[in-house]
Amino acid sequence: MSQPKTGRIKWFAVAALAVAGAAFAFIALGGLGENLVYYWDPSELRQAGDKAIGATIRLGGQVAPGSIQFDPGTSKLAFEVTDGKQNIPVRSEGVPPQMFRENIGVIVEGTMTKEGHFTSSRLMVSHGNEYQAPHDGEKVDTHELMKTAEGVAE
């Protein structure tokens, strides 16, 4: 077996570390955040104006309290997504995930329409990093959770 030049192998390490460090710095400090848009919040969507019409985008925010309307007959769902500054009315079809409720984070995929509402083809519920025990005297019933979709229509 040939003995490789040890000095050369060390330079491989230095070069690899430099490449890795540069890649990490570029992604961490470069303007990737400006271009890497997973979702827009309602204010950003309002600023985009007509550019948001027809383009497939994601809108993220919280479900505005008191805005949920669900018709179990046609499974049409309407609610508003808010970031505390702006509200965007959203329309979607189908029963939402069981975690869907007022004030929960949601991300909807779809597009703005000329009528000024957002048509969603995909509704995702996003939760925070808090995990709480049930409050005193309260039982968590999964079947009840599943009914939230019907429950919110009242």
């Binding site: 077996m1 040890t6 690899a16 490449v19 025990a133 968590v140």
Partner: protein
């Protein structure tokens, strides 16, 4: 030291690994029992949240295993000792296994809570990139015949691929994502923190045991690969030896 020195596998390693894995089994049994039967269901998610007691420890340990592989890569290139190549192979394999399990568990948790199995948000995308990058390095190791080239190039590739590991961790803080940011003991009910911690150490000991076993296996393979060929014996030697 140097690459002309054969690695010397340890005879104690299997016992050490067995001890680590046995302790891991005890911890995981205790942590899972508390997590499944003693901890409360989550206020909003209910029983589904219990998958956290395996998903979060898997995530931490996957990042740790790749960090171990990264350290082994740097050590191999600077020290040029076969032991580090064997440990690198172990770290890569264990890391890939954990990263794969991580994505599976995440999907199982996502479907009932987020409403989807998968979405290309920054956290999930960077995690998938991490998994495939390290799977690619394992494939690279299988392709290269020359042990020195295999060790050198997979170490270089591991160092470069490692850039993604801290990005996976910070992705939820840097960019908007579907995945929530890191929890802390302040955001998790205290009754849930205990099983989470026990299982995190359980998987850590399991991973340590697997790393010991797998790096021993890699060392034994290297010994077979690198050992000088036996001196050729001619037929006459054998005949003379047999007649003596």
């Amino acid at each position: 030291m140097g690459l002309d020195q054969l690695p010397r596998p340890s005879t104690k390693a299997p016992k050490v690994a067995a001890g680590l894995i046995a302790f891991a089994v005890v911890l995981l049994a205790a942590g899972s029992y508390i997590g499944l039967f003693r901890a409360p269901p989550e206020h909003f998610m209910g029983e589904v949240q219990r998958i956290m007691y395996v998903h979060v420890p898997t995530a931490w340990n996957a990042l740790l295993a790749f960090t171990f592989a990264f350290v082994c890569s740097v050590a191999f290139l600077f020290r040029q000792n076969w032991k580090w190549d064997a440990r690198l192979e172990a770290g890569l394999e264990v890391g890939v296994l954990l990263a794969f399990l991580l994505c599976v568990q995440g999907s199982i948790w996502a479907k009932p809570t987020w409403g989807v199995w998968w979405d290309w948000d920054p956290r999930l995308t960077t995690t998938a990139v991490m998994l495939f990058a390290f799977v690619g390095i394992l494939a690279l190791r299988r392709f290269v015949e020359d042990p020195v080239k295999r060790a050198t190039w997979s170490a270089v590739a591991t160092i470069i691929a490692y850039a993604d590991v801290p990005i996976v961790y910070y992705s939820v803080r840097w960019w908007n994502s579907l995945h929530q940011t890191q929890s802390s003991p302040q955001t998790v009910a205290s009754t849930m923190v205990t099983p989470l911690r026990i299982n995190a150490f359980g998987i850590l000991f399991l991973v340590s045991g697997l790393l010991v076993l797998r790096s021993q296996l890699a060392q034994r393979r290297l010994v077979r690969e690198l050992a000088p060929p036996l001196p050729e014996r001619s037929v006459s030697d054998a005949v003379v030896g047999g007649a003596a």
